[in-house]
Amino acid sequence: MKSLMTVMMTSISEVMETMFFLPVEFGEESKAINDRMKEYKPDMACQLKFSGDVSGKITLLIPESLLGEMAENFMGTPKEELTSEHISGTLMEILNMVCGNALGKAESKVPFELAIPEMIDESKIPGSLLFNIIQTPDSVMALNIGMD
């Protein structure tokens, strides 16, 4: 099976460019909450559990300001008309698309099953958890893959 983080990076680029017209670059692994993303708070966080050859959960953090712009581009709806359901729904859909796309590329012997993405309280994520930083032109996102 290919490295999950490698296929995840390819999928993030694909989803961001195809659906959000947003180029991304991948930075170093960092303590997202305490370090790089601090200036972009408040972050919104979403988690998706998966099972297959390996099982675990993927957590994605995106600053609310960036997510608002992404939802606007994604839905073609002016920012002032977007509701919190649109914003959180966009984050859940991003994670769903990225994970589905990546796990399909992972050459697993057993097809992966994805759960329904769930919004989580960002403040409850342990500060010690390492996240991969994804750089956009004006902001950052952060991704963690946790194995069971």
Binding site: E14, M19, H86, E93, N96, M97, N101, L103
Partner: protein, 141 residues
């Protein structure tokens, strides 16, 4: 010809994106119906004429696969074409959908061209003269 299209997805943003993509792809004059899961979709199908169903797979209450089984098992609904739009890109899963009777499968992320080509293949060529939808446009004269 104006089509009646049912979009089934638990994600409100994704339903909006699919609808916008279909309008861009030439189906601007279609009548759109929306459902958040398979159960809601079946309720709509009992009351409305639907030409094509576009459904997600991974949904709460009733997922896309259960929806296809229900439609194909219903004498009145079984001939309505169903397109699955899902993040699932695994060949085994796609084959399962096709074997159940799905008319087409699109993986997310998708482009408007992918949807347009598949729908033209299923429904026939779009008459662009009927597809001018200016309901979202504001013009100042």
């Amino acid at each position: 010809m104006s089509y009646s299209i049912l979009i089934v997805d638990d994600s409100l943003p994704m339903r909006s994106v699919i609808k916008r993509t279909l309008k861009t792809a030439g189906y601007g004059s279609a009548q759109f119906h929306e459902a958040g899961n398979g159960k809601e979709a079946l309720a709509i199908m009992k009351n409305e004429w639907i030409d094509i169903v576009i459904t997600d797979y991974n949904m709460p209450v009733m997922n896309g696969m259960e929806l296809i089984k229900a439609i194909k098992g219903d004498e009145l609904l079984k001939d309505i074409p169903i397109v699955v739009i899902s993040t699932e890109s695994n060949d085994v899963k796609i084959k399962e959908f096709v074997d159940l009777g799905a008319a087409g499968y699109i993986t997310k992320p998708f482009t408007p061209e992918t949807i347009r080509d598949l729908l033209i293949n299923i429904l026939g060529e779009v008459d662009y003269s009927e597809e001018l939808d200016d309901s979202d446009d504001d013009f100042d004269f």
